[in-house]
């Protein structure tokens, strides 16, 4: 039994392409429209073009990190929901991000179920 695609558009921003692929596969199985950006600047651009409902944002990226990317996104878009993807060891940045209207956090490495449940939880808010 195959699920119908929902209207929800999700933008994934992470510098690790293999992780983007995995998350895309997992989320598409849940019938989300998924767009992938492998850097902060690409993410800002895609957000403007595709106007997603939710952004899954990795904090730790070279060049532009997640916080800066989010700060830029928030300049023009205060509606998009944001789930922060982070690892153990940087709880500090979560507090920084708190000012930037973040819906949820997801710690790496995560289970596929965790990813799906956090996304759906955030979208239902």
């Amino acid at each position: 039994m195959k699920k119908e695609f929902t209207n929800w558009k999700i933008l994934l921003i992470d510098d690790e392409p293999k992780l983007l692929d995995l998350m895309k596969d997992v989320l598409e199985e849940e019938k989300y429209h998924v767009f992938c950006a492998s850097s902060g600047s690409d993410g800002i651009l895609l957000n403007e073009q595709k106007n997603p409902d939710l952004i899954l944002l990795d904090l730790r990226m070279p060049e532009m990190d997640g916080i800066e990317t989010l700060r830029n996104i928030r300049k023009n878009d205060d509606k998009v929901r944001v789930v922060i993807l982070t690892g153990y060891g940087c709880p500090d940045t979560i507090r920084d991000a708190a000012d930037l209207n973040v819906s949820e956090y997801l710690s790496k490495p995560f289970e596929n179920e965790d990813l799906v449940s956090i996304i759906s939880k955030s979208l239902e808010l």
Binding site: L22, D25, V26, R60, G89, D96, K108, N112
Partner: protein, 782 residues
């Protein structure tokens, strides 16, 4: 008459008595008899009255005839002598043998006998007298005639002369004074005694070839000659202080007294020379020492008053003038008590000056302690003084010197010393003094406690090496003390051995104490117990290690997070497909998923351990923590050139929860960096304020060398130090970052560039302790 007859008879054939044979016949005979008689008579008168003693001696030595003179001189009568005595009975024993030999010689070979010689004859009373005898053989007979002249008186005069000459010679030879006899015409020397030879360095022969002009320097000759002539004229006898020239060209001074004498029709001047060089030198020295003494007296730093035997002022120097308020001319002749008013400091009773005691005892006398001098204008000064007698050459006291000095400064210094001593006594570190052998002569109570003793006796007189670990003994003697002596100070850390055998880590300073002249007096030491600091350092080190590990683990974890997330995610996706279609791979995929999840747990545990730093929940007061950090840096480095300002505007109950030691290490690290960046001078400003309701902002701003852009990018990376080699581990900021992050905080740095200082900003979450009051806001500066 018979004697006369005999004599004539005896002498009938002798030339003396022999009458001319004029012819024969009665008339002729008668004529001849008459002539003979006349002749005999003439001889007889001559014989008796010649004034000479005459005797005729037979061959057997019997005196046959003696004249009246002989009898008188010998004290016998002629009848006692003539035909009765031999001549030998009149001769002194010493002369008999010699004269008997002559007697015989004269008869055997008359030409060889000595006719005239001296001998001594003996009188009837036994007196021995000197005589000159002339003996001749009566021609044609074996008889001899001897005439004697008494020479006793002459002999005595001669002996007296000889004696006097000997004395005179001895006098001249032995005289300490030099004697020169010069004739008046040529002024040439005729006599020189040994003393004058010694005085001038010439031999007698040399001097006798010289004149007055040769023994005085040319330039004084005119004066010398005038003195010489004055002496000759009898106008004066003493010519004082005349320069004389020695043979070797050196000069000496002599007083010359001269007497004019006439000897053998010549006029001489006898000069007595007394060398007065020594006397003159002594006089000169005396004059010099007097002037020196005066100069010394007037330039000396102490006040000096000299007094005569009555205690009246003779002299006083400017210092004495200043202290007493009297001018020397005013004070001169006054009684000391009028000029020098001294009272006891405490009782204010008049104190006797030590002068009286000096005069009585003849010793140096010191003044009583706590003496106050009241000057003429009422100024009071504490003084210390002493008085000493002045002696002349014969050790008679001729006066007193009073020396005193103003003790005001010393009193002030004493006060300061007391203050300092009380500080030292209350200091809880160890302060000790040792003599140059290392024996402890002073230790403060803090030191006694530090060494584990209760009373000073347990420590004093021990050697400083008793408190040094065996392994350091060689360092103490070969390095530490020599350095302290050479450079004045040695500083270092080591372990102090306490009297119970336990040891504590200490920081020690050893210094040398010298007197004003620069001679080593004592060695001093200050020792601080640094157990607490050491413990703190140890803790800092541990927490730094943990923080570094946390950083590393976090870095590793981040790198592993992504691959692990992919492994887990992909395996789960594969398992879902496998569920739809049963497959032999299912079990293996489940094993992969299980192992990946285990990795996740291990990683999580590892991160959790490094996070225990942040998990500790001390309540930390931030301003106190920063002050402690400043003290800590100050202990390690010299911060004296750096102005530290702590501006803190917070409620007192503001607290940070976390690991106090770890947080302290962050501030120590940042302040230490700031100190390094400013070298030794600059301003360090620390501002603490609320950033938001949940965060505090701490800014640490220095005016140091700043941070370049290139350095800025790597600032918080581990193992990259911005300091010169060996000056940093490259872990300080990386560790600080780790610690601040585990406390949920943030740290960042700003610098406008090199040379423009740097600012580090830390954000930390805080909370208000509700148990404490929330009313005080304080702003502090350090």
């Amino acid at each position: 008459m018979t004697q006369k007859k005999n004599l004539c008879h005896n002498d009938s054939d002798g030339s003396l008595t022999g009458p001319p044979q004029a012819g024969s016949g009665k008339s002729l005979r008668k004529q001849a008899d008459k002539a003979l008689h006349e002749s005999e008579e003439r001889y007889r008168v001559l014989f008796e009255n010649t004034g000479t003693s005459i005797i005729i001696i037979e061959e057997d030595m019997t005196i046959s005839v003696a004249n009246e003179d002989f009898a008188r001189r010998t004290g016998y009568s002629r009848s006692e002598i003539e035909g009765a005595k031999k001549w030998t009975e009149f001769v002194s024993r010493e002369d008999i043998e010699r004269m008997v030999a002559q007697h015989r010689q004269r008869r055997e070979s008359p030409g060889d006998a000595i006719p005239i010689y001296e001998f001594r004859y003996r009188t009837k009373s036994g007196e021995l007298r000197n005589a000159l005898i002339n003996v001749q053989l009566v021609p044609g007979t074996r008889k001899s005639m001897a005439s004697l002249i008494d020479i006793t008186e002459r002999k005595r005069a001669e002996e007296a002369l000889q004696e006097s000459e000997a004395m005179y010679k001895a006098l001249l030879t032995g005289a300490a004074e030099g004697i020169l006899v010069a004739d008046l015409q040529m002024k040439q020397f005729r006599y020189a005694n040994p003393a004058i030879c010694r005085m001038f360095g010439y031999t007698e022969e040399e001097l006798l070839r010289m004149t007055v002009a040769d023994i005085h320097p040319k330039e004084s000759l005119e004066h010398v000659m005038a003195e010489f002539d004055a002496q000759v004229r009898g106008e004066k006898t003493l010519a004082p202080d005349l320069p004389c020239l020695r043979k070797d060209g050196t000069l000496f001074y002599a007083n010359i007294s001269g007497i004019s004498v006439v000897l053998e029709d010549h006029n001489y001047n006898v000069g007595f020379f007394t060398d007065i060089t020594d006397r003159k030198r002594m006089q000169d020295m005396l004059a010099l020492s007097e002037s020196e003494m005066r100069t010394t007296l007037y330039s000396i730093g102490d006040a000096v008053i000299s007094l005569d035997l009555k205690g009246c002022v003779l002299m006083m120097n400017p210092v004495a003038e200043k202290l007493t308020g009297w001018r020397e001319p005013e004070a001169r002749g006054k009684i000391l008590e009028d000029v020098l008013c001294i009272v006891n400091e405490e009782t204010r009773c008049k104190v006797d000056s030590p002068v009286v005691r000096v005069l009585k005892e003849g010793n140096v006398v010191g003044m009583a302690n706590h003496t106050l001098l009241i000057a003429r204008d009422g100024t009071e000064r504490p003084i210390g003084d002493s008085a000493a007698p002045i002696f002349d050459q014969d050790f008679n006291i001729t006066g007193v010197v009073l020396v005193f000095h103003d003790l005001t400064k010393e009193r002030e210094a004493e006060g300061k010393i007391l203050d300092q001593l009380s500080i030292i006594e209350s200091y809880n570190g160890l302060v000790a003094l040792a003599d140059m052998n290392g024996k402890l002569i002073y230790i403060n109570p803090g030191g006694i406690k530090m060494l584990g003793a209760i009373k000073p006796d347990e420590i004093l007189n021990k050697n400083i090496t008793d408190f040094i670990e065996q392994t350091n003994l060689k360092h103490v003697t070969d390095e530490w003390i020599p350095t302290a002596i050479r450079d004045g100070e040695w500083n270092g850390e080591h372990t102090l051995k306490r009297i119970d055998g336990t040891s504590i880590p200490v920081a020690q300073t050893i210094f040398s104490i010298r007197d004003v002249a620069g001679n080593l007096r004592h060695m001093g030491t200050i020792i601080m117990d640094i157990s607490i600091q050491k413990e703190m350092q140890q803790k800092l080190l541990t927490s730094e290690k943990l923080a570094v590990m946390g950083r590393l683990v976090a870095d590793v974890a981040h790198e592993i997070n992504n691959p692990l997330a992919i492994i887990i995610g992909r395996t789960q996706l594969m398992l879902r497909r496998v569920d739809e279609q049963p497959s032999p791979f299912k079990g293996q995929l489940e094993t992969v998923l299980h192992s990946a999840r285990q990795c996740k747990i291990i990683l999580s545990n590892l991160l959790g351990y490094s996070r225990t730093i942040g998990n500790k929940e001390d309540a930390v007061n931030l301003p106190d923590l920063i002050r402690e950090a400043v003290d800590n840096v100050n202990y390690q480095y010299d911060m004296s050139g750096i102005d530290v300002a702590l501006n803190c505007n917070l409620p007192t109950n503001t607290e940070i929860t976390g690991n106090k030691v770890a947080l302290l290490s962050v501030f120590v690290n940042l302040i230490r960096n700031a100190r390094q960046a400013m070298y030794e001078k600059g301003n360090l400003t620390i501002n603490v304020e609320k950033k938001s309701e949940i965060q505090l902002r701490i800014e640490i701003h220095d005016t140091g060398i700043g941070i370049s852009k290139e350095q800025m990018t790597k600032l918080f990376q581990p193992f990259i130090s911005g300091w010169k080699e060996h000056e940093g581990t490259g872990l300080g900021l990386a560790t600080s970052l780790g610690i601040i992050e585990t406390h949920g905080g943030k740290i960042s740095a700003e610098s406008e560039g090199e040379g423009k200082g740097a600012k580090f900003t830390i954000l930390l979450p805080y909370k208000l302790n509700e148990e404490k009051t929330n009313q005080t806001h304080n702003k502090e500066e350090e």
